[in-house]
Amino acid sequence: MRKNLNVIAAYSIMMGLIILVGIFQSWNIALSIFNLCLISAVMTMGANIQWGYAGLINFGIMGYTALGGLAAVLISVNPIQEAWSAGGLNILFSLFLIIGMVLAVRYVLKKYEKSKIRTYIIATIIILGIIIIRFVSEPGIEAIEEVDPAKTGFLGGLGLPIIFSWIVGAFFAGGLAFVIGKVALGLRADYLAIATLLISEIVIAIIKHEDWLTRGVKNVIGLKRPAPYEVNLQQTDWFINLVEKFNSSKLNLISDFAERQAALNQFVIEGSSVFVKLCYSGLFLIVVIILLILTQKALYSPWGRMMRAIRDNEEAANAMGKNVVKQHLLIFVLGSAIVGIAGAMLVTQDGLFTPGSYRPMRYTFLIWVMVIVGGSGNNFGAILGGFAVWFLWIEAAPIGLYLVNLTTAGLDDTHVLKVHLIESVPYFRFLMMGIGLLLIMRYRPKGILPEKIEIK
């Protein structure tokens, strides 16, 4: 109990802050911060597994998040029959061609010794394959994108409940990580960072511009929800009764019936959106707790000890007969899969998929700030980092505004400097993140909750 005191203290402060937002701003804002904190926590757990457990640097988090989001679209949207009949065959055929191409490359790789000729053969196969696939898929893609482009113009998905996409998103991201890991894991740490960053940009470029699959920058809106809709809630009796019970003390103060009804309506509208957010919080909390239990178990298992050994001294671990390459690949896939879950959760919560919104600042570097600030190698630290940094990211604007008002209190309201500063309040969050990261790196390089290794 005593040795966990700092963990408990840190988490209570965090919860206290969120509750304060609930009291002073509104419960709606507090809950939406809380939900995104939970999603960030899942992402940081994924990054923490790679960086904290194994020392692998992965700047491609944005790509896996986007793939998770893509999974949400492909699982939940109803299939669009017209599009399938217009160009589905071509797409399926191209898919077979891609598989055939991959198999051919694999065959060449297995069959022949490494030589210049083999490289040329592989290059020829890939180039020819791409040209053939373009010819096959082009008419199909055009046909699909012409089907009601204002509303659909893509193949749609499977029409299943969106919850399934959380698992599928993990598989998508894990699959991509497997491919990337196979090619790039041998690189030195900083090269790996750059390579993963650039590969994630390629993934985003594909998601943005392959309209037949994702609608691209036209966005997919109105995804299914695992939670009830506010509009429906506002008309169900049990919910209205519940809200009435909750606010009975306030409502009883109002004597006039019409006024009381109006106040109740107001409470119901507010309550419905809080209730929906609470549903999401519950779902996300379940995911976070399951992942936390699993990652904690893994951390203290023989496998976790092996990973730390590999991280701290690769050569020694290799000499002890541990397969470093295989374990690196495994942990790369596992961590990315967790990030994929988070990506699907994010799209589920928003109810829309906007490929244009995936930017490295928000989805890669901010997550890294969370991991470093929270404490790499410690799951509780990583989750705390997710909470604290996201909280600051959102609340930076009000804090910044307050600071600006404080420092320029002597100036006139129309003073150029003051107006300019108030306009640029949204960018104070970057400043706070940067300074926070630099301070933590300098004075507490292991993060707020550092890694504890228990030697028994």
């Binding site: 900083d190 750059i194 390579a195 650039l198 511009h209 306009e423 940067g434 300074i435 990261l437 630099l438």
Partner: protein, 336 residues
């Protein structure tokens, strides 16, 4: 069949733009490579440092414009660049003193320095946005074209026009001057040689009496010059927007690594490799083939290898291929 028109077409749409874009990338790539070779970390704040320098150039340009100083046909920004460089160098040295020095003295692993540079990236980005705002800004003045497409057509009587913007020529000339001075400095002067020695083998360099503090300072000074000029030229040619500069970091990294990180000459050529492949692979060759091939063989489609949306993806794919097959880059890296 009209080869002259076809060649002019390629010159106009591929060669000239790629040469200018490549020069801008090359300056950034040399900046990355210098930091990597001497201070030994991947600087993720590259793009934002360039936007920081450009911001000062713009501020000085505005000041000069407001007091009525101009260079006639040349853009006023040229006059502003030296002042911006002074501020930029001050900023760089300040960052080094308060941020990077601690990790260098403690001999932290390069990954940690890269993380620290992300912190610097956040701060720089915030400062730029707070001072000048996130919107698109053009600060070009003076004569826009050296040759206009219409004039060229009249002059030569060809179907295709060749337009050369003054910013493109300016970019190429300034880059050539700057890069050749830099290579002269690195290869011929004593300080330059000691920088190369320090990059090649730190311990040996220290033993032979090279002052590391001086080397580091000069590196930041050169980096400041390169970042400001590179950024300002890009901003003159296109426009200044903090977010674009942040994104430009990626092709710049690609150029530095393709050329062999730590090797300035490689980085210089790497910039052009990236620029040319981006433009060559995403250009629609339909018109070119219409000129070159007989009428019966005219192509139906656009004859475009990749859609322009994948412009960035091209350079990244090249980088990934290079990393896989020649991790040290096309021109062996790690020798300054």
């Amino acid at each position: 069949m009209d080869f002259v028109n076809a060649i002019i077409l390629l010159l106009n749409y591929i060669f000239v733009p790629a040469l200018a874009y490549g020069s801008q990338l090359a300056l950034g790539a040399i900046f990355v490579t210098l930091i990597y070779g001497i201070l030994r970390f991947a600087n993720f704040a590259t793009g934002d440092m360039m936007s920081f320098g450009t911001m000062f150039t713009i501020l000085f340009t505005w000041y000069f414009q407001s007091v009525g100083i101009s260079l006639g046909v040349l853009p006023t920004a040229l006059l502003a660049i030296p002042f911006a460089i002074i501020f930029m160098i001050g900023y760089m040295l300040l960052i080094d003193k308060f941020v990077f020095k601690y990790y260098r003295v403690n001999k932290s692993p390069p990954v940690q320095l890269a993380m620290v540079s992300i912190g610097v990236m956040f701060v720089t980005q915030a400062v730029v946005r707070i001072i000048i705002g996130p919107s698109d800004r053009r600060f070009f003045d003076g004569e826009k074209f050296i040759i206009k497409a219409v004039e060229f057509k009249e002059m030569t009587g060809l179907n295709e026009g060749l337009a050369i913007k003054s910013t493109q020529v300016l970019t190429i000339i300034v880059t050539l001057i700057l890069v050749s001075t830099l290579f002269w400095f690195l290869n011929k002067t004593k300080t330059g040689k000691s920088m190369r020695a320090y990059s090649d083998n730190e311990d040996l360099a220290l033993l032979s009496g090279i002052d590391p503090k001086k080397i580091v300072m000069i590196t930041w000074v050169i980096a400041g010059i390169l970042a400001t000029i590179g950024g300002a030229l890009y901003g003159l040619d296109k426009s200044f927007k903090p977010f674009t500069y942040f994104n430009n970091m990626l092709p710049i990294f690609a150029a530095a690594i393709v050329g062999g990180i730590g090797n300035p000459f490689g980085a210089f050529l790497g910039g052009y490799v990236i620029a040319f492949s981006e433009i060559l692979l995403t250009y629609a060759y339909r018109k070119f083939f219409m000129y070159v091939l007989p009428e019966s063989m005219e192509p139906g489609g656009l004859v475009q290898l990749l859609s322009t949306d994948y412009k960035f993806a091209v350079s990244f794919s090249i980088l990934v291929i290079v990393l896989l097959y020649r991790p040290s880059g096309i021109f062996k890296g790690k020798v300054l």
